[in-house]
């Protein structure tokens, strides 16, 4: 299982993701520079957190023009696993690989705190090691993570079960108080219809070792490592 972590100018979570893949899970890792026009045979591409291209114009708006993103789009079209975390989720929305957009937090504050996530899908390559309706404790760190989509898109997402994570309380109840940023329907992460592209605002790479206060994030990395073998990239 070979993970590729994309590095744009302004990306800041690339080494955190790399550490989990390489040092914690012992999986093969390569960093992909934004100018690379080759995914180097990776089985899963991670777009990590940060401020790609300084978030100029809009978060993620410029990153989609990077040479590597053309290849990521083709890879996703072939069924390859693409995982956007925080800024990576914003990039996936701007690139049209996921529907909707991430806008300024309702509080206007940059929120850096632990959240609880209700896992709504356990049949995906990214969540196969999670229990049905499991609650994961994963931190967020963003100023623009409020998920928005028009009503038609939103009901489409719900009907097709594309909402993967929702902000919830410690008991798994999806309530307004558990929503840190004003996301519609408490959405913290969504997948594309095919289920091979995941975008999420919370940072699983920051809770994959006990020293960091939690290991729930490791379940997602482990899921990918173990189930990616089953996904056929044509």
């Amino acid at each position: 299982m070979k993970f590729g972590v994309v590095v744009f100018p302004g990306t800041w979570s690339d080494r955190d993701c790399g550490w989990v893949i390489d040092q914690v899970l012992g999986q093969e890792l390569t960093y992909l520079w934004h100018k690379d026009a080759d995914l180097k045979g990776c089985d899963c591409i991670i777009l990590p957190g940060g401020f790609a291209y300084g978030d100029y114009l809009r978060t993620g708006a410029i990153a989609r023009f990077a040479p590597v993103m053309e290849k990521v789009g083709e890879f996703a079209d072939r069924g390859g696993l693409v995982w956007g975390i925080c800024n990576g989720f914003q990039v996936l929305c701007e690139a049209g690989l996921l529907p909707g957009a991430l806008i300024r937090n309702a509080s206007l504050e940059f929120r850096c705190e632990w959240t609880n996530l209700a896992v709504e899908r356990t049949d995906l390559a990214f969540t196969s090691q999670c229990e049905e309706r499991e609650v994961l404790r994963v931190p967020i760190a963003h100023g623009e993570g409020s998920y928005f989509a028009d009503p038609a898109t939103l009901s489409h997402l719900e009907q097709r079960g594309q909402v993967v994570f929702r902000y919830c309380d410690a008991n798994g109840r999806v309530v307004p108080n558990a929503n840190p940023n004003g996301s519609l329907h408490n959405i913290a992460g969504i997948a594309n219809a095919r289920g091979n592209v995941l975008g999420m605002m919370p940072h699983p790479e920051r809770c994959s070792e006990a020293e960091l206060g939690g290991t729930d994030g490791l379940k997602l990395f482990r899921s990918v490592a173990e189930s990616a073998m089953k996904v056929l990239v044509s």
Partner: protein, 85 residues
């Protein structure tokens, strides 16, 4: 030609910046303020003398990059460059 592009959040999109500025104006005594929406102003200089062509090109720029159609609306004016403010 110069295009003056204005990008605004769609009416259905929550604009917490606008709400906060509205509260600020109200507390300064501007009680007639009923709504504030905050967007972006973008100037684009074009090497063309045809206003029609410039209009088509800027429209395409807005659709492809300058505005995100999911959350933003746009409008723009085109003027010959010598009128530049």
């Amino acid at each position: 030609m110069i295009a003056r592009v204005i990008v605004t959040p769609k009416p259905v999109v929550n604009d917490p910046q606008g709400l906060t500025v509205k509260q600020g104006l109200t507390s300064l005594g501007f009680r007639e303020v009923s709504d504030v929406r905050i967007g972006k102003y973008i100037e684009v200089n074009l090497d063309t003398s045809s206003e029609h062509e410039a209009r088509e090109r800027v429209e395409a720029m807005c659709r492809q990059l300058l505005a995100n159609h999911v959350i933003e609306d746009f409008r723009f004016d085109i003027e010959p460059e010598h009128k530049r403010r």
